[in-house]
């Protein structure tokens, strides 16, 4: 008897695992039968190979068949597959183009606005600098009672660089807008003065040419090198490859262009890209404490904590050895050194842009959530209407999970399409945001190229949108039951109100936070605008002239100033013209030593007074009211007796209970009371709307040496903007070498000082109103829907004798309950968020009771108004008709 050949065991195991139990034995048997036959005919090896092949083929086919099994209903019919179902629902949406466009549009705008804000936030404060290992860069700030300050002395920087072990390189950088002269042409540039190690420490290699590390480190003033930035090279020199070796005069010093920085590197302050980088003169004012950015790179392996522990003793030791320095440090109240991360640029950027942008982003996200809640309501209503379809699918063998997945699939599809459209919206939105942020000093050259952060945010926002739209309808699938549907054959199936109520509460709560925010920010702005300015901002054009770096000074510059003034006054439409060193709202300060003969001040601070050097007709041009005495006039010139006008608060402070007019004072190094006070003017806010008016003395410009930087102001009878070009042309004719660095209207200058508050107020007001509208529509739609689902019940109640008012109250009561839950949640959230925004408020507490009360009223009115219309319609139903229909 011949032994029976053994079929491959592994292949049999595979078959046992892969085949359905009911057909397993017969198939294995059949295969065995053929295997034996093949062994006889083709030999054992060929038969074994054949068996393996068949086993794999069976396993694959039956697995595929099993995957499709749950989609197949008993007795042969098939339930639609996911993709077919999705296609079907897309077709359904395509049949309602207006609705679909609205859904897509609101998702696109919602996501787009968020992505736009995030891109700007990312570019300004999140994205790491394009330098080597940005995470180990820190800025040294001096902290103490008076807050932190980014400043240092050159000698101290050298001391730290030579002695600290925990740092691996350091540099100073000082950025300013200054004047450059190229080929005899003057222009305004952003220049940066740095110590020689700047590029080396950052690990930035030149695009062409060389950076400072390869240059002579002596920093000799005669042979100075400049590195220009890539964007300046492209813009100013049309990417001329032969640029190296050309001369550029920066700050009156001729520099030779040695290199061009790489394209993506714009310096440490990404909001203000540097045009030209030159070396800091390390030979002058070495011990002088100046505001400069002091950046260090931590040595590999040392932590911020370790560096702080080493640097602070070095700081205190150095300061105690150097008398003049220790005086400055004591005066400024510096107590210790702090290290702030400069990974994404200067830490200051985080304060200036980070917080307002984060608040704005929070508002936008809240709005997106609101829109999502509305859409979720819409999708939920659709899902509810399709419950019978779904119940039948369930009965035919589809799983609940699959139906939920399908609903999710629809909302995710919408979110994905909305996200793609949103990116287009964002491209436009970022431009708008950058324009708005120009008021904060943001350069339009900000690099807004999307990166991985933006991509992640966009995908996350779209996913969040899809999930928040889809979760309520998918959740409602839990409740779909066959018996419920079959029992209700031919009748309306009552919708589960739970998910709808949750959506209403969520919407109301989010919008409460927005409404509270809108009230707070709007109150802040109106409080600020109600602050007495002391001047009339409308109709005034300001032009700042900086003669620094020209050969004009002293008497000749004074002559030029007077000449310009004559020309400006001759322009049509000019009511009056003047110039001053400190125009209102300019943030300029000019403290000068001040004394009153025979008076000893109790504190040294009293010996410093803000002094504004003003031309004739200054008070008239700015609309500053003169309370007593006379103004500065044209006859107050070098030959006339020296006079001054003082501000009201100055007069009250230095001459309490006395008449300041006629008193003699000294400004500057004068002795013996050379200046007589001839007038008292109303207080003027100089810095911004939050800061009270400083004590100020106005002295005639014609009695002093001309100041290099002066601001000319003209008051026009019409729109000042339309005459700006003509005015600038006049100035150019008179003084071709002096560029007008800043041309702006006074009203705009004032608005710039409240840019943050305006941004927050307009954002929160606009979006608060939008939120209320969204909530109104949402509540209207959802209440209307649930009421329509309850017509049978309501009809029955009316038929049984319930009055219409009772039925009305029945529904409104439910909405009021929802509103109270939402108010509890929303006001708690507002209270918690209040501390975050308190720094941006003025004259109003973040938890002001009246704001909360007003919000409550607004919400109840909105909620009830949105409820009334659908409810009244419901109570008008004819009970008999309703019952018959059901």
């Amino acid at each position: 008897v011949r032994p029976i050949p053994e079929s491959p065991r592994l292949a049999r195991t595979l078959l046992t695992l892969a085949l359905p139990r009911d057909v397993r034995d017969e198939i294995v048997g059949d295969l065995e039968e053929v295997f034996q036959r093949r062994c006889l005919n083709n030999g054992a090896v060929g038969a074994r190979i054949w068996y393996y092949r068949e086993a794999l083929s069976f396993a694959a086919r039956f697995q595929v068949d099993r995957l499709g099994e749950h989609a197949r209903m008993p007795r042969g019919a098939t339930v639609m597959s996911i993709s077919r179902d999705t296609r079907e629902s897309l077709r359904a949406f395509a049949r309602k183009p207006l609705l679909s466009a609205t859904i897509l549009g609101s998702i696109a705008v919602g996501i787009g606005a968020n992505v736009a804000l995030f891109s700007v936030l990312n570019a300004l404060v999140l994205r790491p600098l394009p330098v080597r290992d940005p995470a180990s860069l820190f800025q040294i700030v001096h902290a103490g009672d008076a807050g932190a300050s980014a400043s240092s002395a050159y000698a101290f920087y050298e001391h730290l660089q030579n002695n600290a072990k925990t740092i691996d390189g350091a540099f100073l950088a000082d950025t300013s807008t200054t004047k450059a002269i190229i080929d005899g042409q003057a222009e305004s540039i952003v220049a940066q003065q740095v110590t020689p190690g700047y590029f080396e420490v950052l690990g930035v290699r030149p695009h062409i040419g060389a950076v400072f590390q390869t240059l002579d480190r002596s920093g000799q003033a005669s042979t100075r090198a400049a590195v220009i930035s890539h964007h300046y090279w492209v813009r100013r020199f049309a990417s001329d490859p032969g640029i190296l070796g050309r001369t550029i005069v920066v700050d009156r010093v001729a520099h030779t262009i040695a290199g061009v920085a790489p394209a993506r590197f714009v310096g440490l302050d990404v909001s203000r890209p540097v045009d030209v980088t030159v070396l800091l003169d390390g030979t002058r004012e070495r011990q002088y404490w100046q505001s400069k950015d002091f950046i260090v790179r931590l040595a590999p392996g040392s932590s911020r904590q370790q560096a702080m522990l080493e640097l602070n003793p070095l700081f205190h030791g150095y300061v105690s050895q150097h008398g003049s320095l220790s005086q400055t440090v004591r005066d400024r109240g510096f107590k210790w050194l702090d290290l702030e991360s400069a990974r994404s640029g200067l830490p200051e950027l985080r304060d200036r842009y980070g917080t307002p942008l984060k608040i704005a982003l929070a508002i936008m996200l809240a709005l997106l959530l609101l829109a999502c809640a509305n859409l979720a309501g819409l999708f939920l209503a659709r899902a509810t209407d399709r419950r019978r379809d779904f119940a039948i699918c369930l009965a035919l063998g589809a799983s609940r999970g699959r139906l939920a997945r399908q609903l999710f699939c629809e909302s995710l599809l919408f979110a994905a399409a909305g996200g793609v459209l949103g990116v287009l919206v964002a491209a436009w939105g970022t431009d708008a945001i950058v324009t708005v942020l120009a008021d904060f000093g943001l350069s339009p050259a900000l690099n807004l190229d999307p990166d991985l952060n933006v991509l992640t945010f966009t995908v996350a926002a779209s996913l969040l949108t899809g999930l928040s739209i889809g979760v309520a309808p998918a959740w409602s699938m839990k409740k779909v039951g066959l018996n419920q549907v079959l029992a209700a054959t031919g009748r309306t199936v009552g919708a589960a109100r739970g998910p709808f109520n949750a959506l209403i509460v969520a919407q109301l709560a989010v919008s409460i936070v927005l409404v509270v925010g809108a009230m707070l920010f709007a109150t802040t702005l109106s409080n600020l605008k109600a602050q007495p300015l002391g001047f009339v901002p409308g109709g005034v054009l300001l032009m700042t002239l900086d003669a620094d770096g020209t050969d004009l000074e002293g008497e000749r510059l004074g002559l030029v100033h007077r000449h310009i003034l004559e020309k400006l006054e001759a322009l049509p439409g000019v009511v009056s013209a003047t110039f001053a060193t400190i125009p209102p709202m300019s943030s300029n300060v000019d403290g000068k030593p001040f004394s009153i003969p025979g008076v000893t001040f109790p504190t040294p601070d009293d010996g410093v007074l803000q002094v504004n050097t003003v031309g004739p007709r200054f008070f008239e041009t700015f609309g500053i009211r003169l309370l007593r005495g006379r103004a500065v006039v044209a006859s107050d010139n070098g030959t006339a007796p020296k006079v001054a006008v003082v501000s009201e608060s100055m007069a009250r402070y230095y001459f309490p209970g006395e008449d300041a007019i006629g008193r003699r004072v000294d400004v500057g190094r004068g002795r013996g009371g050379q200046i007589e006070i001839v007038g008292i003017a109303e207080d003027v806010r100089y810095k911004n709307l939050r800061t009270p008016a400083p004590r100020m003395a106005y002295v005639p410009a014609l009695q002093r040496e001309a100041e290099e930087e002066s601001t000319f102001a003209i008051r026009m009878s019409g729109d000042p903007v339309s005459w700006a070009a003509a005015a600038v042309r006049e100035i150019k004719n008179v003084a071709p070498g002096i560029p007008a660095t800043d041309v702006i209207t006074l009203a705009r200058q004032r608005d710039k000082t409240v840019a943050t508050e305006r941004l927050l107020a307009s954002l929160s007001l606009g979006f608060g109103a939008l939120a209320l509208a969204l909530v109104g529509i949402g509540v209207y739609g959802m209440v209307g829907y649930t009421v329509s689902q309850r017509t049978a019940e309501l009809g029955l109640r009316i038929a049984l004798g319930a009055g219409r008012a009772t039925v009305l109250w029945l529904i409104i009561r439910e909405v009021l309950i929802l509103i109270s839950i939402a108010v509890a949640i929303g006001l708690t959230a507002s209270y918690l968020a209040g501390s975050l925004v308190s720094a941006f408020l003025f004259g109003v507490q973040p938890a002001a009771p009246w704001v909360y009360a007003a919000t409550l009223v607004v919400m109840v009115v909105t909620g009830v108004a949105a409820t009334l219309a659908p409810t009244i319609r419901a109570t008008r139903i004819d009970p008999i008709e309703t019952l018959r229909a059901h």
């Binding site: 029976i4 079929s7 359905p20 009911d22 057909v23 034995d25 017969e26 198939i27 294995v28 048997g29 059949d30 065995e32 039968e33 053929v34 034996q36 068949e54 083929s57 069976f58 694959a60 086919r61 039956f62 068949d65 209903m73 007795r75 042969g76 019919a77 098939t78 339930v79 639609m80 019978r388 379809d389 039948i392 699918c393 009965a395 035919l396 079959l486 054959t489």
Partner: protein, 128 residues
């Protein structure tokens, strides 16, 4: 599920386009026809061989068994278990036969196809 419920579900499902009334697929027809051609001892192996012999094309063995299982699910085929032999490692054969519903389904499908073919022959000849 009661029969009434099932009928309701099927009717509702068809009305809403959720359930389709499928005709027979081509391979299903081949399998049913092969069973009818073979007179006795009809099981997987001879069915496959019969299709291959008559059509002259090679057939995936697993497809035959998947189809048989589906046809039995649709009640177009009925089956019973035969004897277990040593050369089959003790596994029994499953013998199959076509049910009256299966024959009806075959005829319906043929009729549908024929109706579509009616009158086309002269045209197609002309086209050739």
């Amino acid at each position: 599920m009661t029969h009434d419920n099932f009928v309701f579900i099927l009717a509702e499902g068809r009305k809403r386009g959720l359930v389709s009334r499928e005709g027979l697929g081509e391979f299903e027809q081949l399998v049913l026809l092969a069973i009818l051609h073979l007179e006795s001892d009809v099981y997987g192996i001879p069915i496959m061989e019969e299709i291959e012999r008559r059509t002259g094309r090679s057939v995936a063995r697993a497809a035959v068994y998947v189809t048989l299982r589906r046809l039995e699910g649709k009640k177009l085929v009925s089956s019973w278990m035969g004897e277990a032999t040593l050369e089959r490692r003790g596994k029994a054969r499953r013998y199959v036969t076509v049910t009256p519903a299966g024959i009806q389904a075959l005829q319906d499908t043929r009729q549908t196809i024929d109706q579509m073919w009616r009158g086309l022959h002269p045209k197609l000849r002309g086209a050739r």
